[in-house]
């Protein structure tokens, strides 16, 4: 059981748990990312996610391949939502099941960190003052912003 999806409908984390769960596993790790109301001190009203869908799916598949290789986790699902999301909406969910907790936990951490580095998905943040901006995590890392 392994799959990666980019979808426009709501993510149901409970269904991911049901999908990866099995009596052979003693641990299911679930990571859920949600839309936060403040970013870098600015009040956010919504986030519009967009993607280069065919590559995003391919890159997610590569990340799942790597995660299986590294952690021995073969029951692994990732769903990423695109479109206009409201505060608190689930933007991404990752479920990993394994016989033991450490590989399951390490696996979900690995998948979300790699998503943030290399899956072609973008956020256009909508602020409560009516402005909008593309989120650029590389810019925040530059000391000139300090």
């Amino acid at each position: 059981m392994r799959r990666a999806s980019i979808l426009t409908g709501e993510i149901d984390p409970g269904s991911l748990i049901n999908e990866v769960g099995s009596p052979q596993y003693g641990a299911i790790s679930l990571f859920i990312g949600t839309v936060r109301e403040v970013n870098e001190g600015r009040s956010v009203s919504a986030i519009e996610y967009s993607a280069y869908k065919s590559m995003a799916r391919a890159e997610l598949d590569r990340i799942l391949d790597e995660a299986e290789e590294r952690f021995g986790v073969s029951a692994l699902i990732v769903e990423h939502r695109i479109g206009l999301l409201a505060l608190g909406d689930v933007s991404v969910a990752i479920a990993a099941a394994h016989a033991h907790r450490a590989p399951a936990l390490d696996c979900t951490r690995y998948v979300i960190e790699e998503i943030k580095k290399r899956v072609p998905i973008w956020k256009n943040e909508h602020y409560t003052d009516g402005t909008r901006e593309w989120v650029d995590p590389t810019r925040a890392a530059q000391p000139s912003r300090a």
Binding site: I115, P120, W122, D136, P137
Partner: protein, 81 residues
């Protein structure tokens, strides 16, 4: 002359004012040659000099050769999650 279509997304599509640009390719054209051509277009001067580029849905090196049949995309800083 052969051409290739370069897909643009997010902030890069806003900069260029279009979701794609069509560029000429000759034998020996590299990823960096395409980037340099795009940066000379109106509105594109603030594009980074070495943006991430994907060929056929995988990240490509700047010296990788480009074929007219390739699916090329400029990838702005990603922000998934």
């Amino acid at each position: 002359m052969s051409t290739v279509t370069v897909q643009l997304f997010a902030s890069y599509a806003d900069l260029l004012g279009a979701p794609t640009v069509e560029l000429p390719v000759r034998p020996g054209t590299t990823v960096q040659d395409l980037v340099d051509s795009i940066r000379s277009l109106p509105g594109a001067s603030s594009l980074p000099s070495t943006p991430r580029v994907a060929i056929n849905r995988s990240f490509a090196a700047s010296d990788q050769l480009v074929e007219p049949s390739d699916e090329i995309a400029l990838i702005p800083p990603v922000a998934g999650g």
